[in-house]
């Protein structure tokens, strides 16, 4: 069986999509000649030429704004914001136009734009290189927000995002770019918007996404010894959320933990907790526990470990909800 890194699988997704659709473009800062700082666009310019894969000036608002114009002329775009913290200059174009264009034009204009953003922390990066921007985008009506946790899903979700007629903000967990996964790449099922039960269990359920998935799985493993059987769900689609699955898992276990890197306040944990209450109030045995980054700016490399949810913090939360 083939072995894939997330970076390699995403690269392959772009290659296959560009092969199939001659009107698909890839552009952004350093995505052409260099192949991207994380190599996700490696080799695409050689294969498809500078007309379809090109470097742009350092101008994020211009990049996203141009993608809108290109969509109006029938070109699909996958644009890259080089790092999470550098998507903010494009915020107005994304929120005021990308998210609203279909609505503003009464459905007459599709914006099949994928905005790829290497995201989250855990790579000992400098400030502005470890941001978790998902709340900003997932709260914005009109955007779909996706975050793969590994290579196979990365391929699948990026292909689905590119095929989607709506704009998709695609958050790639930097900390997982080089992690390997075995399997065949395929883009059939699921549809965007579906979460995935990665590990079964009935004592509690942990909802998470991105690079935190592996930590949640480790925590779940570590609790087997204590006889706590923990279900782990990879949300994958942060907007829209897979509310039916969230509700079902909450009802079946009655005990819920949400884990993410983003700061606690107004992070997805709060939204998931509210959904759980709406969908499973009478089945809840314990308050939903949130294991998240703290309400502080992402710290420097030397202090990442203090900020990021650790396997221990996650395991403690599972113990807390199961022993409530």
């Amino acid at each position: 069986m083939a072995e894939w890194t997330l970076s390699g699988a995403l690269n392959r997704a772009l290659l296959d999509a560009m092969d199939e659709d001659p009107r698909l473009l890839v552009f952004g800062e350093d995505v052409g000649r260099l192949g991207g700082v994380f190599r996700v666009t490696d080799g695409l310019q050689e294969k498809f030429g500078e007309d379809r894969v090109f470097d742009t000036p350092v101008a994020e608002a211009g990049i996203v704004g141009a993608a809108i114009g290109l969509a109006l002329t029938g070109w699909k775009s996958v644009v890259e914001m080089q790092f999470d913290g550098f998507s903010y200059p494009a915020f107005e174009q994304i929120v005021s136009h990308v998210a609203k264009y279909r609505n503003r034009t009464r459905g007459r204009v599709d914006l099949p734009i994928v905005i790829r953003i290497p995201s989250f922390g855990g790579i000992r990066g400098k400030e502005h290189h470890g941001e978790s921007p998902e709340t900003y985008f997932a709260h914005t009506a009109g955007l779909k927000v996706v975050a793969p946790s590994g290579a196979l899903d990365g391929y699948r979700l990026l292909r689905l995002a590119i095929d989607d007629p709506d704009p998709v903000v695609f958050l790639e967990p930097k900390a997982r770019y080089w992690a390997k996964e075995e399997g065949e790449l395929s883009s059939d099922d699921p549809r965007l918007g579906e979460a995935r039960v990665v590990r079964d269990g009935d004592a509690a359920v942990v909802f998470t996404y991105g690079a935190m998935l592996t930590r949640c799985l480790d925590a779940a493993e570590s609790l087997e010894g204590e006889g706590i059987s923990t279900r782990v769900v990879d949300l994958r689609s942060l907007a829209p959320l897979d509310v039916p699955l969230i509700g079902r898992c909450a009802r079946e276990t009655g005990r819920v933990v949400v884990v993410h890197e983003a700061p606690k306040t107004l992070g997805l944990g709060g939204e998931v907790a509210a959904r759980v209450m709406e969908e499973a109030f009478d089945h809840l045995q314990a308050p939903v526990a949130r294991v998240t980054g703290w309400d502080v700016p992402y710290p420097p490399a030397a202090l990442e470990a203090v900020y990021l949810p650790s396997v221990d913090r996650i395991a403690d939360a599972i113990r807390r909800v199961t022993s409530y």
């Binding site: 109006l72 609505n103 829209p240």
Partner: protein, 353 residues
């Protein structure tokens, strides 16, 4: 004759003096019929603009941004575009929309509060949605221009924006992208002297047309109240775009005779006598005087245009005031191509199934 402060500095390209006397080459390649059409467009535009002010007072429209005084800048530039070319407006380009063939009643659904910036079809009309976040549309126009070039089309894209908008980062990013990609884009700045209450003199210390040079493409300054001159410089920019020579920045010097919008009390920041003085530069009087003097039109024509405008405006008015209120479903129907389950649930909750 003295002129608005923001007209100072480099002399703009000009063909007709304020009084209609010819100071340049009036043969800009338009047939007599087209020359008369320009006039018809400007008159219709002004009459509709004034009607909209009235409609707003009567509660038929929400806040409305009048363009009186800017008819030549908008009509002259839009008239220079071909069918395949695109134009991207701000929120004040109703005159340009008319020239592009956008249905005025549809357009005014925006100001009636019936729908957002795209009440008409931006693809069919090649006229971008009405755009309020200033300067953002410049990047969209540049994207279209890049796309047209990739398709090997010789069409181009023109972006309208104002003197205030030109202070936004998006102006710079869009202009630089256009230059780097040699995009067939035309950046058309209507410098009307004001950004709401802020005069151009507090908006920039330079001349806007000169910014192009620093980005490696040509800029030109034109008398924006001289419809022939505006048509002429825009036609030249279109020619360059079609030839693959890249973008052009046009600064059209004009003057906003009305308030910023119907919600604005301009007397708080400018002297209405001054405004009356600048009526001397009225683009329609100027062009009308030349049309008559040059025998391209006669009084009968002028009267006919007037009657046509009257009839046409009342039609538009009827179209606007008779339009139905939008159905509640519209709130939900176009957030996504396919409404996701949770949003469908909200829709049901709101509309009762």
């Amino acid at each position: 004759m003295d002129a608005p402060a923001h007209w100072a500095g480099t002399e703009p390209v000009r063909i007709l003096e304020a009084d209609g006397t010819v100071v340049g080459d009036a043969d800009v390649g338009l047939s007599p019929e087209q020359l008369r059409e320009l006039y018809r467009h400007m008159v219709r535009a002004r009459r509709l603009d004034r009607e909209c002010m009235a409609l707003q007072r009567q509660g038929e429209l929400t806040v409305y941004p009048p363009f009186e005084g800017q008819e030549a800048a908008q009509v002259g530039s839009a008239f220079a575009l071909g069918d395949e070319d695109w134009a991207f407006p701000t929120f004040r380009e109703l005159a340009a929309a008319l020239v592009r063939g956008v249905d005025p009643a549809q357009y005014l659904a925006y100001h009636r509060g019936t729908w957002h910036g795209g009440p008409y079809d931006p693809r069919a009309t090649r006229f971008g949605p009405i755009c309020v976040p200033v300067a953002t549309q410049i990047c969209h126009a540049v994207g279209v221009a890049i796309g047209l070039r990739k398709d090997g089309s010789d069409a181009c894209a023109l972006a309208y924006f104002g003197d205030g908008s030109a202070s936004e980062g998006d102006f710079h990013e869009g202009a630089n992208l256009a230059a780097v990609f040699q995009a067939p884009a035309i950046l058309f700045c209507q410098n009307n002297g004001w950004a709401i209450s802020v005069p151009t003199g507090l908006q920039t210390a330079g001349e806007i047309w000169r910014r192009a040079d620093g980005l490696g493409f040509p800029g030109v300054r034109v008398d924006g109240n001289d419809v022939l001159a505006v048509y002429h410089v825009t036609t030249e920019a279109v020619r360059r775009a079609r030839a693959g020579d890249g973008p052009t920045l046009i600064e059209a010097l004009t003057y906003r005779l009305g308030p910023h919008t119907t919600a604005d009390d301009a007397s708080r920041y400018r002297d209405e006598e001054e405004v009356e003085r600048w009526r001397a530069f009225d683009p329609i009087d100027r062009y009308g005087a030349w049309l008559l003097a040059s025998r391209h039109a006669d009084d009968a024509f002028v009267r006919a245009v007037d009657d046509d405008a009257t009839a046409w405006v009342s039609e538009v008015r009827a179209g606007v005031t008779s339009s139905d209120p939008p159905p509640a479903e519209w709130v939900f129907d176009w957030t996504f191509a396919e409404t996701p389950p949770e949003l469908a649930r909200q829709r049901e909750e709101a509309l009762g199934g």
